[in-house]
Symmetry: C2
Subunit: 593 residues, 2 copies
């Protein structure tokens, strides 16, 4: 049966050899005490927890699922609450939290490693703390001093967990249609009423209290998205000392039956005159919520990174063990009745696709977490601002590109298993079902692409894109003279130029017809994704070239070559398709479809 | 809630306007009484059965699944046996069967319409009769007169159903490893022993008897695939008059828990000294079984065609009803709180992808069924032989290309639903799960691609491919002078030339290194798939151009344009990737992955 092995060697390669996180930390006073040794200790310990505690609960959690026991009570699968106690007891919820609120103050580029491993081991379980971190960030940024003091230490210690309550039955993407109401009370609190759906971890038995962050409308609010406010609605109303008071008027009406992530309770929550407290300014709920949302979007990309990694490990193990047929080039295991299927070129293509997207995606995601660290706490204002731009530009890309790839890769893992992959027993089909949601929640991948092309690229006339382009250009300039780098640098440089030209073209067309943005956006996002992949694979190849006598680095080089030979060519199709315009999409009347 | 509407207008378009089935039938004596009116009656009646009887059992069948009740007994979901009684009672199992054995003798190009609609309505249910047809064909071609007389009328009437028993725990793709044994008995029968897995419809409560066609080895059989024989092993041994005799030694040990097709019983079958009768020659079981297999492969392509169609209908309905956001080009439904999401270009891209692959796939599959008819019963030997070549060449393509597209399309349908698509309630995620198996069974899509490139193209030096190329060339020649056809004819001609060149290239490389075939095969198959799509979309556009004042034909034209603008560009990537060679795939040692 498959096992999850934390890929520590690959992780250290990205953190230390590619990103130089140690050195980055030395440049940031808040992280001056973080060094490579500490980081390696943390990820090793974290990896153990993921492999030994979370992974064994993954398939059982899927089989058992969450159960709605009536009257708002939800039971998570066997072992889930105990794993949470162990996780919180070991201090993991506080890993990257501000020391002011009891945290360990490690950078996000270390926290993301734990996120990847947790999602490899058990995505459904990891979703319980997953959104808590967003709730923490949101209160940290927008809460009053009193709110922060009351809630943050409890979220940090893992005593309480948090949720995000946005979606309603009639509104998901379009939050302007939101109907939940908030009535002001004499004591400064509000009464919140309405129904929220698709609330991940909305009710459960992991913690004594659950802190809901809820979007609702004040009585005098303007229509649309500018009339939405954010409220904190705890399941139990806490006293000032954090002790639990009365049960609040929020209750799970049911949990959804879903394609996957069965171990996470996706709730319909009824709010009936629930006590809530305003977070931030009235009618400014959406911008406040977007603090959570952006962190959550990177988090979703990392969910798929984790799923890609674990599915790949599983497929690789199977491909090395399953004996079937002979190599076309002559028997490779003549002493056995057949060769292991990893001898076949197409099985290798499927495995290498997973490997290239896993390792390239890891480089991308960890680097973006480093940009988040820089943007928040780097002492140099210009570095902070540049990092913020990279983060804004590439957050939709890490979300959509990694989740599309993750679904493709978990499917390839299933395909490597053949018929056995379709059987639940082996667990690989669960990775397909679990990772499927990632293309949808926290903004569908279409929404991500519109955010990228419409807002992040066209609205600032490509300024942020040029900043990333400058990184690429600097690398091309520096390495372009090395002959052995030409196979990596040339396609990277070429793609950069083509994207620059395409961006201008779409910008021109969009001025005539706004539908042109929507028509090109999804292809455009994948092109940017490949530009990022090309950049990081070229950088990783550069490191590996100098150490190619070691198998680890030879494998990195081989994977880089595979990426450019087999995955990069998708850009040829994307460029044509992105350029084909809105005409063929908009021609038909709805009734002629 | 979604409903299935048999797409009769589109089906008639393909049968009558594109393929001229009526005229084809007039040229074939065996079908001389088949005309358009009869065909339309049959498909209308069949469509009703699918929509009214099978579709309502689709989701309930998925929820309930099959149950193993111990001691070899399997219960199918509620309503399944009754639906079978109704189906058999109406004579549907005999639709395309030889009148000699009680059939109605309709051509396969009409039977395939029923197959499509049944698979749209309920793939899991349709799998019960699905393989029976293969068993019928196999016995029809290779059985003795006695076997045919005993079994075929029962299979035709629907009193009995059939299975194919190939796979064993340690062997799926590589049937040379097969271990099941057959010991000859004094009375001319055999005792069959061994374990078979993944047997679709291996045990159930639809019929009084189940006829297993089983691969096993005779005591003196040579090793490998040349020592495999085919046996008929009925669940109850029939007397010469067809009445049921003793319970045979074949028993379901359990049923598999799977990702989807929960309504079909996927069985582990234990054969313990079961009575069996040889079909065809000793040690020639594989060629005999391949009669079934080839028919089954087209059938699997049609399963995904059916899934694509029903998922598209579901997504289209949702896209027209779900109000969310406003069109970037200004409100389209100003009287409503938001526009239906079908106004958005990317929602249209997702819908049109499904529409183009559904309608193009239908043209392809129905045409291939017509080739099967021609190959079997056309009076002209040259026509028969040409049709047989087309069938041999394109059977792996219809299987792999349609099932890959089908999975992509059901996923796009899910994506159109957003979060609601991930919830079981709407049914669209079931289409994703059900259609996933189609890429695997009856030979994985990698196996299909090796069959196409290795056997069907390279082994006969491209002769079959040139026959299809001649069809394309004739069309290009005939229509190339029409200016309004240029947008369709030019890319078709261009792709044909590029594939010709690529085929030569790969052939040359393969002479040096056999791994080059495996390295290029999957991309190559998709290229051929696009050549076929381009050909049929160009032909459909040609018909539509002359009637473009009618909305139905305008929609066909718009969909053809969408295909060439948005889906055809994939060929640019495939050409590069197919050409990239085996080197990057074979570089790594297994332990370095």
């Amino acid at each position: 049966m498959p096992q999850y092995q934390p890929p520590l060697r690959d992780i250290r390669f990205v953190l230390h050899e590619l990103l130089g996180v140690d050195q980055e930390c030395r440049a940031i006073p808040a992280y001056s005490e973080v060094d490579a040794e500490l980081i390696d200790q943390v990820i090793e310990e974290g990896g153990k927890f993921c492999a030994e505690v979370l992974y064994p609960l993954n398939r059982s959690g899927d089989e058992e699922g969450c159960r709605y026991q009536g009257d708002g009570v939800v039971r998570t699968p066997a072992g889930f609450p105990e794993a949470w106690q162990q996780f919180a007891g070991a201090g993991w919820p506080s890993l990257t939290v501000d020391p002011v609120y009891g945290g360990q103050g490690l950078p996000k580029c270390v926290g993301i490693v734990m996120d990847e491993m947790m999602n490899s081991a058990n995505q459904a379980w990891t979703m319980y703390p997953g959104l808590t971190h967003g709730a923490y960030e949101c209160l940290h940024a927008h809460g009053t001093e009193e709110q922060r003091k009351l809630y943050l230490p409890k979220l940090t210690s893992g005593q309480w967990l948090g949720t995000m309550c946005l979606t309603e039955p009639h509104c998901g993407t379009d939050l302007g249609l939101l109907r939940a109401r908030a009535e002001p009370q004499a004591d400064g609190s509000y009464r919140i009423s309405g129904t929220k759906i698709f609330i991940s971890s909305g009710e459960h038995d992991l913690t004594e209290n659950i802190v809901h962050l809820v979007l609702a409308r004040l009585p005098d609010a303007p229509e649309g998205t500018k009339g939405v406010s954010l409220f904190i609605v705890p399941k139990f109303v806490p006293a000032a000392d954090g002790s639990l008071g009365e049960r609040n008027g929020v209750k799970a009406a049911r949990i959804e039956e879903k394609m996957g992530i069965h171990g996470n309770a996706t709730c319909v929550l009824d709010f009936e005159q629930a006590s809530g407290w305003l977070v931030g300014e009235p009618n400014r709920g959406l911008p406040a919520m977007f603090v959570m949302m952006n962190a959550a979007r990177i988090g979703v990309g990392v969910q798929s990174l984790g799923q890609t990694v674990v599915a790949y490990q599983s497929a690789l193990e199977y491909a090395c063990e399953r004996l079937q047929g002979r190599s076309l080039g002559g028997p490779k295991a003549p002493d056995k009745p057949a060769d292991p299927i990893i001898v076949h070129p197409d099985v290798r293509r499927m495995l290498l696709t997973q490997k290239a997207y896993a390792e390239g995606g890891r480089a991308f995601a960890y680097w973006l977490a480093l940009m988040a660290d820089r943007s928040l706490v780097h002492p140099d204002a210009q570095v902070r601002s540049d990092a913020e731009d990279m983060l804004a530009l590439l957050t939709p890309v890490v979300k959509a590109f990694l989740t599309d790839n993750g679904f493709a890769c978990t499917n390839l893992a299933l395909q490597v298993y053949g018929g056995h992959g379709y059987i639940r027993e082996w667990g690989v089909e669960q990775h397909v079902r679990d990772s499927r949601i990632n293309m949808i929640y926290e903004g569908t991948n279409t929404i991500q692409s519109l955010d990228l092309l419409g807002r992040k690229v066209l609205q600032d006339n490509g300024a942020k894109l040029r900043k990333f382009g400058a990184l690429v250009a600097a690398f091309v300039e520096a390495e372009g003279t090395r002959e052995d780098m030409a196979e990596f640098v040339n396609p990277l440089a070429e793609l950069g130029q083509k994207i620059e030209k395409l961006s201008l073209e779409i910008g021109m067309k969009a001025m005539q017809d706004p539908e042109e943005v929507g028509a090109a956006a999804v292809d455009y996002l994948r092109l940017i994704g490949h530009l990022v992949m090309s950049y990081f694979w070229a950088r990783m190849a550069r490191i590996a070239l100098d150490k190619a006598e070691e198998p680890f680095y030879r494998a990195k080089l081989a994977t880089a070559r595979f990426y450019f030979a087999r995955l990069y060519p998708e850009t040829a199709a994307l460029l044509q398709s992105a350029r084909s315009g809105a005409g063929t999409l908009m021609a038909l009347e709805p009734e002629s479809f």
